[in-house]
């Protein structure tokens, strides 16, 4: 993560008001720099990535599963905002994914239940095969780094986990 750095997120866990005020200022600066960069490459986003960028807010989405097979990498998310749809992201990889499992300091991690999608950063790759790099920071402390052509996005109405409570709906068993 080049903009939403783990150090900045850790700074945001301080109990000191002066530190938190400074962290907020730095956060807004980092966000402005990232948006300025993204604006320079946004018109080159491939269709799937453009759809994802324009239609979803992924912060605090539950990461229900992560899978890989050959050149494909998938994430199954449940969005935090109503109606808490299930989103299946299938990345068409250009190189092997990398996962750093201790990217986030312990103080800033969340535990129990599925990890949450915290922040992501996109970067256009100009050299070699081109494509895009994405860094995803998860609440369990992982940073997932992907290099890919595009991502296929499918949205489903949530059935399990059920809307709202994150728990399975009550089931009736008939003998």
């Amino acid at each position: 993560m080049r903009f939403y750095t783990p150090a900045l997120i850790e700074m945001g866990q301080s109990d000191d008001d002066d530190v938190l005020d400074e962290q907020s200022r730095l956060w807004e600066e980092a966000a402005a720099r990232y948006v300025a960069y993204l604006d320079t490459v946004r018109d080159r986003l491939p269709a799937g990535l453009k759809h994802l960028d324009e239609n979803y807010y992924l912060h605090d989405a539950k990461v229900l599963s992560i899978g890989k097979r050959g050149g494909a990498f998938s994430l199954v998310l449940q969005l935090d905002a109503p109606p808490r749809s299930i989103l299946v992201l299938a990345y068409d990889l250009l190189s092997a994914p990398a996962i750093e499992k201790n990217a986030l300091p312990p103080k800033a991690r969340m535990h129990g239940g599925p990890a949450a999608w915290l922040y992501n950063e996109l970067e256009r790759v100009e050299a070699g095969p081109g494509g895009w790099r994405e860094s995803l920071l998860l609440s369990n402390g992982w940073e997932v780094r992907l290099h890919f052509r595009d991502v296929k996005v499918e949205e489903f109405d949530a059935v399990l986990p059920a809307h709202g409570d994150g728990h399975a709906p009550r089931a009736a068993f008939v003998a």
Binding site: D53, Y57, H111, G112, G113, D165, G166
Partner: protein, 117 residues
């Protein structure tokens, strides 16, 4: 926040208020506020996994109250909104150990919850 509020010293500003809250659907990341509630109701609402928001003109007071609400539920972490979010997306505290789900949001000088439609 109005011009009158900006000129006030923190000690002169009205105390923050706590409200029921919900995330808006869609890509905005916006927080919508509902009825004002008291501290005990806010903690009960958070324990049940629903959202609350602390509103007011004093960032430090808002943040401190939000932290105390979430702290009454259990250990918590603080998060900032992502760049894509609009001005109604708010920083928040949430449990470091799930469940419960949900967040205690708080307003800043530039980020305000919007009224629930």
């Amino acid at each position: 926040m109005g011009k009158k509020d900006k000129g006030m010293q923190p000690a002169e500003r009205p105390p923050p208020t706590i409200h029921e809250a919900e995330l808006a659907s869609g890509a905005s990341g916006a927080v919508e506020h509902g009825a004002e509630i008291d501290l005990a109701s806010a903690v009960a609402r958070r324990q049940a996994g629903s959202d609350v928001v602390v509103r007011g003109a004093d960032l430090r007071a808002n943040r401190a109250l939000a932290r105390s609400i979430e702290g009454a539920v259990g250990p918590c972490v603080r998060s900032d909104p992502h760049d894509k979010a609009g001005p109604a997306a708010l920083p928040h505290f949430q449990p470091s150990q799930r469940p419960p789900e949900g967040h205690t949001f708080y307003e800043t000088e530039n980020r305000k919850a919007r009224r629930k439609r």
